[in-house]
């Protein structure tokens, strides 16, 4: 029987279990491993470990992700929802309330359980058989250990520990991604809501123009053509507004989902506007170096690579002695005749498959390929991280410059145009429709300015994530790739 399967089929392990006299002999094999193999589940489900990885990250808004929402955290959610929700509050709510966090912690717990399991001694197997032949009764009791399990226990424990480290990094990435997604959703929701206000103004301007056009036609000052043109502008403005309103609903719902909100809580209010732009660009130095040092996906890939490297050693060791079992046998035969004689045989039983056909080359080759694959992934993630850091930094700078240009140049110029148009209207040099047209145009420019501001805050989140967390867009793909990459537990 495959020792790994057997280990897994066994009940919950306990390393300090005493198994009587026979065990003492078996303990000779594993005695040295007891300390190494002794492990227990982390009591907080890894919250502290994850927090240690992401706690200082600016995306986290100084808050702790919560494994399971409790009464206190729910109260804090309600308190945060009572006020207009800023980005930091949104992140705080998501980190204690989002199902995604709970999902991430549950995944981490599974990994933790695997780790503990791997570090446990395999359960001894006790076989007992009673054979009857005429009057002869034979009791065979055998307490057997999966020796290979004992032999590979250090590897198993180390490897599972490494996998768990990687899992922690992944959980941390999930938490960071949630924080980033929440920020981005918040930015989108606020800007969409802001857009609606201005597009509503634009529509109001078109409405005033259309209404006046209608009255112009009514008293005979305008033709159907002129009136219809103004109505067309209104119809167009109304369509734009409808689209913007739908965007506002959709982006808000996206935020609501990330916050894990339902019921009456969905009535939260958002601020009227996005936060102002920072005064200057941050001094970051070499962003590539930062990303390669701090990014969790880089660290995660490296940790997994180490684990794979260790698993390679494991495979080498087990390629020959794949399913060696060693058992202590004590057979007692009862003759059941007059002298009530019985005889007891003692000894070892060693069950060793002869490697006639499987010398383990395939297994070794596979493991090496897996290692190469894992190493390639490290390089890949490294290239990705450096490139994304450059791209995100450039994106940050561009969007910052663009948003500033809107704030400092385009909008003031637009305002000036409007003022000049009012002066022209005052001088009867321009019509009220030209005035309204400028007003409408300026609302669209304001809207473009809001979008530039929104893009800046999105780029800002992307930059934080690209430098310290994970791929701003590629985390999901990465997760899928690494899941398939983890060497399966010996089942080959």
């Amino acid at each position: 029987m495959n020792p790994f399967v057997r280990r897994q089929l066994a009940g919950p392990p306990h390393c300090r279990r005493s198994s009587g006299a026979l065990f003492k002999r078996a303990a000779a094999f594993g005695g040295a491993l007891v300390l190494a193999g002794c492990a227990s589940l982390s009591p907080d489900g890894g919250t502290a470990d994850v927090q240690a990885l992401v706690g200082n990250n600016p995306l986290m808004a100084g808050t702790t992700a919560q494994r399971v929402p409790d009464e206190a955290s729910q109260k804090s959610v309600d308190a945060l929802l009572a006020k207009p929700l800023d980005a930091e509050s949104a992140v705080r709510i998501a980190l204690v309330n989002s199902p995604r966090v709970q999902d991430a912690f549950a995944t981490l717990q599974i990994s933790d359980a695997d780790r503990v399991q791997a570090a446990s001694l395999p359960n001894p197997v006790l076989s007992f058989s009673r054979l009857a032949q005429g009057r002869e009764r034979e009791f065979e009791r055998m307490l057997s250990f999966n020796v290979i399990g004992l032999v590979t226990l250090p590897w198993q424990a180390r490897w599972a520990g490494q996998r768990h480290e990687a899992a922690k990094l992944q959980a941390a990435q999930s938490v960071l991604l949630l924080a980033a997604d929440t920020r981005r959703a918040w930015v989108r929701a606020v800007s969409a809501q802001q857009s609606v206000v201005y597009l509503r103004d634009a529509k109001d301007a078109a409405e005033a123009g259309a209404e006046l056009a209608h009255r112009m036609a009514q008293v005979g000052n305008w033709s159907a053509l002129q009136r219809t043109r103004e109505q067309l502008l209104l119809a167009d403005a109304a369509a734009q507004l409808a689209r913007a309103e739908q965007t506002a609903v959709a982006t808000r719902e996206q935020l609501t989902r990330l916050l894990g909100l339902g019921g009456e809580r969905i009535g939260y209010t958002l601020p009227d506007r996005l936060p102002p732009l920072p005064k200057s660009a941050p001094e970051l130095g070499d962003v590539q170096a930062l990303a390669l040092r701090d990014r969790l996906d880089v660290r995660s890939a490296q940790a997994q690579n180490t684990a794979v490297a260790d698993s390679l050693g494991l495979t080498r060791a087990t390629s020959v002695i794949n399913a060696m079992e060693i058992g202590a046998v004590r057979n007692t035969t009862f003759e059941n005749d007059a002298d009530r004689s019985r005889s007891t045989k003692r000894g070892f039983e060693l069950d060793l498959p002869l490697p006639l056909f499987d010398w383990g080359q395939a297994r070794t080759g596979r493991a090496e390929a897996q290692y190469m694959q894992s190493a390639a992934r490290v390089r890949d993630v490294g290239v990705l991280a450096a490139s994304e850091a450059r791209e995100a930094w450039q994106g940050w700078n561009t969007s910052y410059a663009l948003a500033r240009r809107y704030r400092d140049e385009v909008l003031p110029l637009r305002k000036k145009v409007n003022e000049e148009m009012v002066l022209r209207y005052n001088g009867m040099l321009a019509s009220v429709w030209e005035l309204l047209g400028e007003t409408r145009a300026s609302m669209l420019v304001v809207n473009a300015g809001i979008e530039a501001q929104r893009d800046f805050w999105l780029a800002d989140t992307d930059l934080q994530l690209a430098l310290t967390g994970s791929s701003p867009g590629g985390m999901t793909a990465l997760q899928t790739a690494t899941a398939g990459d983890a060497p399966a537990a010996g089942g080959h």
């Binding site: 005979g220 000052n221 001088g427 040099l429 005035l435 309204l436």
Partner: protein, 459 residues
Amino acid sequence: MNRRNFFAGAATAVAATTASRVSMAALPEPVMQSSTATAPPLAPPNGRPYNPVVTLNGWTLPWRMNAGVKEFHLVAEPVVREMAPGFKVNMWGYNGQSPGPTIEVVEGDRVRIYVTNKLPEHTTVHWHGQRLPNGMDGVGGITQPHIPPGKTFVYEFTARRPGTFMYHPHADEMVQMAMGMMGFWITHPKESHPLIEPVQRDFCFLLGSFDVEPGSATPKVNTMTDFNIWSFNSRVFPGIDTLNVRKGDRVRIRVGNLTMTNHPIHIHGHEFEVTGTDGGPVPRTARWPEVSVDVAVGQMRQMEFIADEEGDWSLHCHKAHHTMGPMGHEVPTMIGVDQKGVVDKIRKLVPDYMVMGDKGMADMGEMEMPIPDNTMPMMTGAGPFGSAEMGGMFTLLKVRRDQKPGDYKDPGWFKHPAGTVAREVPGASVPPAPRNAPSPGNSSNTDATVRKPSGAHNH
């Protein structure tokens, strides 16, 4: 500006040109003008005597007598002309102003005119209407080489016939005239002329048109028809001085048209006769009384009448849009459009929004709302009874019994004798005229269709 100030100003200008004195040693020093006020008549200090003219918001160029030749010096240069208080336009002109100074000579005078070109491009001067040697006609490329920037040319001829003339460039003509380059020329008769009567007041001005984008200061030189500034001597109402005369004076008004359209010049309260054209004095048998005379493009007319009705009489171009400031030609008629309910909506977006034009455009004359910088209101000016609602080619002929001979000062508003002003009928209550516009919604049985010919009818 009085005479003393005028020459003081001229002296300052001369000092300012010291640097070029050496090169100009042989030339008469150019006299510059910095004021837009109507200069008093320049009595001839030498040469044959004559009765000088008064150039509306302009001046007469002093000359130097050199061995019996009257020498003038014109400097073609960029100038900033104040067309009305607060409205300054970047123009090209002569000797500090647009139009240039009036040149006054006497029939038979030998005249030498130096022309210095301080413009960025070449120019010439054409002496519009004069009998002169062909090579003195000033047509660039045809009768003379152009005067390059920085160079001085000299024209010399004898003023052979008395009359009213103009001068203007004949080089890049459209642009240079659109920029304001023009001037008046009077040749006085050397002795009493049977068709030229002596007058007590002799005014002259040129009609000019410009296209200045509201809020800007430089004319658009490529405008052909859609001008928005209509001027007498590059001034617009209320910046145009009034023609102030003594009751009983014989008054002559000389008008030259250097715009691209005709102008029916109309004088209130008097009938006049056209006593002279570009071609000279009109035979008495060809004169008839009228109150408006159309001055066609490139023409000059001189109107004469006895100012025997006291009062402030309007004198203007009768094209109504020429007595207006700039207006939006695309602004639709708003008359009869009630903006109730819409106003509040617009004010929410444009807080300064005011309803205008729903009753007509007279609002414009009364409301003092901010308009673009350096822009004349469409209608402006105030009289003793309220808003004048005018602009452009509009001024007043002020006839007073107590205006002293030779005094051109503005006597102020006319004091009407009691009972001679139109007044409200007390107690009468007449309902306002109903507006009788057909509703376009049910106008299907309105058969009358007026088809207007299309084409350029801008003026």
